[in-house]
Amino acid sequence: MRNNSFFYFLTLNLLKEKRRFVGIVLISTLLIFLLSSVLFISSSIKHTLNQTLIAQPDFIVQNIKGGRVSPIKDEQVDKIVDIFGVKKVTKRVYGRYFFDDKYSALIIGVDFLDEQSNKKLAKIMDSVDLKSFLSKDNMLVGQGVLNYLKSHYYTSNYNFLTPSGQMQKVNIFKALNVKSSLLSNDIIVMPLELAQKVLGLKENELTDIALNVPNDSEWANIKAKLESLNFSTRVVTKKDMKKAYENLFNYKGGLFLVLYLIVIATFSLLLYLRYSLASSLERKEIAILRAVGWSIKDVLKLKFLENIFLVIFAFVLGSSLAYIYVFILGAPLLKDIFLGGANLKQFTTFTPVVDYSVLSTIFIVFAVAFLGSVLIPVWKIAVTEPKEAL
């Protein structure tokens, strides 16, 4: 480096004056840790949801009665298949089954002989031996469901209570693998007809119809056609869902960030005061430097690099701690704010995604506030006349 001795002096100074910076670094690290944890959690959930979304069908057609979703007749499927450009029209039957007040699982009915519009589901189906699966009333269960059933001594089958009051006995065929737990932890996959029985639908009734449209410039067109099929039809597109997720997590993260900015502002004020009331010792040091021939510019440079170093140090430390806290320890306490403990009890781990935009967001918020508040006090120290300070 060009002015090696300068950097040598800088690091020497920082190491020697450790105690002076400990307080600032501690608070900074804590602040960065808090912000990064929240942003890491929100971006990790967003990532998982987006991954789920990629596998989702492009369109979902629902039947609306009085503003509520009600079962759709399966003759609609034949009408939809006739529209040009539509692929993989799937009959879907699903709904929540409440085992008790607190625990429920999502039952998904699948027509195993049809092609699947949900890509994740298609993958699951590939790993199942269909012949033995369809020979009896069988179901595939997620890890969370399996644990629940086991803890209630249902090791090989379960008796579902249907809305009409009958019992329906279904065998547990296999557990789904644990990967991406948000998606598959509390689901039960069973044949379509069986799901209809368990959920209390009639034979020609479906929850909704899913379909894909490979050419995405046709989306708006197809949407209009689907909506004109029936007065009570509602069409949900993948883009709508993506936007809804985006807004949901922006809301939670954004609210936090707004409150956080107030904390940052307070911290800046503290920093400003701390640097304005620089100790006479600090002034003396600067005066000595000036007296031995340093220019104001050099002193400013020294002081700034010192602060930039502090910011970067706190940033690296804080965000790595947050990484450990969120992705390795699973963010105890903070997790519930985002997930709402009761709804997604089974949620186990966050997928570690480090989005650089998140990191740069954290850095910008912090660096701007930190450096902005020390700017003027540092200058005031730097321009002190050596004569006055000594």
Binding site: G253, L257, I364, V365, V383
Partner: protein, 321 residues
Amino acid sequence: MNELFLNNYVIVYLFSEAVLFLIALYAFFKDISILRFWDFNNFSSKQLKLEKQSYLLSTIATFIFTLKLTLLIYFVYMIDSLSIIIPGAMCGAGVISANSYGMSLLFVKLITIFTFLLFLTLNNLDLKAKNYPLLKFKSWVLLAGLLLIFLETYLDIAYLFNIDLSVPVSCCSALFGNLEGANPLPFGLDIKMLLILYYTLFVSIILSLLLDNKLLTAVTLILFAVISYYAVVYFFGTYIYELPTHKCPFCMMQKEYYYIGYFVWGTLFSALFFGLIWVIIGLLKYESKVLKRITVTSLVLFVSLCSAYVLYYYFKNGVFL
């Protein structure tokens, strides 16, 4: 309340702009007092104070410049990420044209960065000399830069508050691509003429830099910037996207194209800005080999990057688009 203001990027962006605004406001008053009372031959304590203040101003300017540059990149990224929320938008192009303030905001941002870059160069020259020869001039430049920041803050607010999320915006192919046969290029050029101009101007900039001709450099650089904009959007861009109908200056900054857009536009503006600064300080009778070198390097990088995309496509597929 608009959903936009809960987006992390928007909050952070507005916060940083607000902090910079406050600092700029402080610097503004200091700068005015320097412009009013500066007199190098005076030995009063006031003059001494002003000299110290000029250090503060240059520190603030460095700070503002660094952050503005970072925030420009951040802004473009933010605009791009907003395209999910805003109906109809598929990339930054749609979002930025959501209302009439967007384009002017981007433009003001670029000029601000140029002004601060000019100030920093002048400041560097000024501090090297013993009697602050450029102080008045650089203070005027700084004043202009600070006023631009005020304008920018106003435009930030006007732009973000006036985005209506219920009204769909156009996507880039509607804005740039599909013009129903109308020629989007200026001066009635066609693509062939555009490319001839592009390469001719490139060579003439290099030549005029070698010949140290200030006026010619300035004229060719500005012309080249305009022509390059069109050439990238309507010709080179299609090779980046590998699609003859995709004409957009923003999409190339997306992940799908490895964020190459930041580099393409970055080198172009770096060549333009450093070239013009070289011209301006040349007119003040200063020479800078470094600036010239940066200009040439960025220019060559820009042109070779654009051309490389075309050549790469040709070697891969055996045809031009």
